[in-house]
């Protein structure tokens, strides 16, 4: 069973600051996805990374997949209140397990 850990579990920072959150696995990901869940809604896909070392950018969000495909980071530059939400990286077995994620709060 793939064990996932996201860190930090909670993060509260001021608007305009930079931040990085992490997703680590006990085993190799075939692919890795990041989802964001805004309050009162279901999670929505942000990005999929497939190749070890891959970097993808989505406006102020930069996603990096580890060379060994066992970890990933999400870096947000100049955070805005609209970035507030729960960030999740699920496993990719038949049982899609999401875990607790990182709860991010951006203070205006």
């Amino acid at each position: 069973t793939q064990l996932l850990e996201q860190s930090p579990q909670f993060l509260s920072i001021q608007e305009g600051e930079n931040l990085t959150v992490y997703c680590n696995s006990s085993s190799v990901f075939s692919s890795l996805q990041w989802y964001r869940q805004e309050p009162g809604e279901g999670p929505v896909l942000l990005v999929t990374v497939v190749t070890g070392g891959e970097v993808k950018k989505l406006k102020r969000l930069t996603f990096q997949f580890g060379d060994a495909r066992k970890d990933s980071s999400l870096h947000i530059t100049a955070a805005q209140p609209g970035d507030t939400g729960l960030y999740l990286c699920p496993n990719r077995d038949d049982k899609i397990i999401f875990g607790k994620g990182t709860r991010l709060h951006i203070l205006p």
Binding site: S30, S31, Q33, Y35, G40, E41, G42, P43, V44, L45, T48, V50, L86, L88, P90, R92, D93, D94, K95, I96, I97, F98, G99, K100, G101
Partner: protein
């Protein structure tokens, strides 16, 4: 409009009553999932289904029953609701889970309160 819809969106029920949450998707995705979300626990998998007539337990399946007689529907039943089942329930669907890049689509959630 195509998508994944849940009903009811909000429900208050009494302890011991049977409650069914409905989930319908229009993409003919093979996989469907039910999650519950409680503060401090993130999303926890209740049941999932790889195809019609195939279902399997997730992390927290006790007290819940599912069926999948048609590909597009995946109802979740609480046979005898308890206060600990007060939660937000999310249904989701996806195509071949093992392939890379297949998006998981979520419904808007069903807020269930058991009193």
């Amino acid at each position: 409009d195509a998508g994944i819809t849940q009903s009811p969106r909000y429900k208050i029920t009494e302890t011991g009553r049977q409650v069914t949450l409905m989930c319908h998707q229009t993409w003919s995705h093979s996989y469907m999932f039910w999650y519950r979300q409680d503060l401090g626990h993130g999303l926890r998998l209740i049941y999932y289904s790889a195809a019609a007539d195939i279902t399997d337990k997730g992390e927290v399946s006790d007290g819940y029953v599912v069926s999948r007689s048609k590909t597009e529907n995946f109802p979740l039943t609480l046979e005898s609701a308890t206060r600990s089942q007060t939660s937000v329930y999310f249904c989701a669907s996806s195509e071949l889970v093992e392939s890379s890049g297949n998006t998981i689509y979520f419904g808007e959630g069903s807020w269930l309160t058991v009193v």
